[in-house]
Amino acid sequence: MRVFLAAALLTLVSVAALPRAAGQGRGGPANAGAAASAAAKASAPVDMTGYWVSYVTEDWRFRMVTPRKGDYQAVPMTEQARKMADAWDPAADEASGNQCRAYGAAAIMRVPARFHITWQDDNTLRVDSDSGMQTRLFHFNSPACNSPAFNSTAPPPGERTWQGYSTAQWQRPASLKVATTNMRAGYLRKNGVPYSENAAVTEYFDMAPLPSGGQVLMVTTIVDDPQYLQQPFTVSSQFLKEADGSKWDPTPCTAK
């Protein structure tokens, strides 16, 4: 009896300890590298690959049409950011080759588009958008993922790009966390609401079933930018799973 109880106790202690890692919050050290030792693809708790389409039920007038200059409702901008936005000149952006400013990592998931998620290799999740023809790479098991500075705004070495450098981590039981830095300065909204090159983006990808069938991908995006934002800019966007890529329609960036 004692042996049985001792064994039961030991088992329960082990079992009770297991999910504590999952219970930690954003960037919790107990989570860091939870699945880092195995290849990210093999240890993926959910399958996010496939074609996803933006389901634009919120912020329609800021996303589906280009808002007029000065229409930046609900963005917690600094005074400096307002001046920048008021000076928005899409023709100048196009002339200078900066027509992709509204398609950077801080805004791309808000752009009405189709997204194709695939595994580029065992530790890199790739997200392509047809609108703006952008490619994001989420690096699992990179040194940055396993460091305490996972959320650090210090950019990794390398040239800044619209999509920056993203590190990724599975968060048990079924969530994906992505941290992005090293971006080129861009726009949160197409009408010139700016974010700086020092902005840091944290995203959470969560999947859910639709009660009537189908799947939803929800992406929560948090943009930290002390230069242009008074507080982190937080939005969440929904995507519906599509059966195939038959509606995939690559379209270059436009500034207007």
Binding site: G25, E58, V75, T220
Partner: protein
């Protein structure tokens, strides 16, 4: 009394203690697999807020023909009617309105498990009780209330709730209707100090497709009120002899979204195809905006 008997007598209380510890650990495990959602959550209003649009702003709502007809007949002057001033909004409003959330739980005093969570009310928002004790939803003939009837269960670290028995109301303050057959499935995702709620509203009467809304809240050290100020109705110029409305094709605001924001009429009136990216190709370039 032999030595074995003494041993048995001595070991029984220890066995009981061990069993109790085991049960406690099991309970801890269950709790650890969940997330703490109680407390005060400040709204992060960086997305569209219901009610801040123009009168005919049904953008992003996949209305069917009946829903659209009903929505276009709505006049916001209805809120001047005494009986409607304090009607409040349906439960979907908690992820659409500007207010934060105060969430608390009721626990079983003996077992320690959560019986229910409650999302506090505000002046125009009902409190929502989420029953976690496995009780069934009431009969389809049971009373429908403003908050509806909600049950919940944990799926890993995500709280999933389902709401039925909602009174007919509105999907958005601008008049997009919801029927008493509407249901809401909500998922609460906690990521550190951010709580993101995804609400999926289905309505066989007024919606052609599910309506999805989500909102993020940030944990707040400042306690939020579990109730709002009381709603007090008063005479606002409507004697109650008429219900303000617009007849078909007579809504004077139907083109305001177009003239002010360059939003095509089809999008303003909630045509389902306008929710997808390809619709942008149908939007005239350089749509007028002023």
């Amino acid at each position: 009394m032999g030595s074995n008997a003494v041993h048995r007598k001595m070991s029984q209380p220890n066995s009981a203690k061990l069993a109790a510890v085991c049960l406690c650990l099991l309970a801890c495990r269950t709790a650890a697999a969940q997330m703490e959602i109680t407390g005060s959550w400040a709204a992060r209003n960086h997305e569209f807020l219901t009610g801040d649009g123009l009168p005919v702003d049904f953008t992003g709502i996949p209305l069917n023909e009946e829903g659209r007809m009903r929505a276009l007949s709505y006049s916001e002057s209805q809120l001047s009617m005494i009986e409607r001033q304090c009607q409040g909004w349906p439960p979907f409003y908690f992820v659409q309105g500007p207010f934060g959330l105060k969430i608390w739980s009721e626990t079983d005093p003996l077992k320690g498990n959560v019986i229910s969570y409650t999302i506090g009310a505000w002046e125009d928002r009902p409190a929502i009780t989420i029953w976690m004790d496995g009780r069934p939803h009431p009969s389809r003939y049971a009373e429908h209330t403003r908050a509806g009837f909600t049950t919940g269960a944990w799926e890993g670290t995500t709280l999933v709730t389902h709401t039925t028995h909602i009174k007919a109301g509105f999907l958005r303050k601008t008049g997009a209707p919801s029927s008493d057959e509407a249901t809401m499935t909500a998922r609460f995702y906690r990521h550190g100090d951010i709580l993101t709620v995804l609400a999926i509203v289905e309505d066989p009467i007024y919606l052609a497709q599910p309506f999805l809304v989500s909102r993020s809240f940030q944990v707040s050290a400042t306690p939020m009120s579990p109730i709002g100020p009381p709603c007090v109705s008063a005479y606002e110029g409507n004697t109650g002899q008429t219900a303000p409305h617009y007849l078909p094709e007579k809504n004077p605001f139907v083109d305001e979204m177009t003239t002010k924001y360059g939003v095509p009429r089809d999008a303003a009136i909630g045509m389902p195809e306008t929710l997808y990216p390809e619709y942008r190709k149908k939007i005239p370039p350089a749509a007028p905006a002023r």
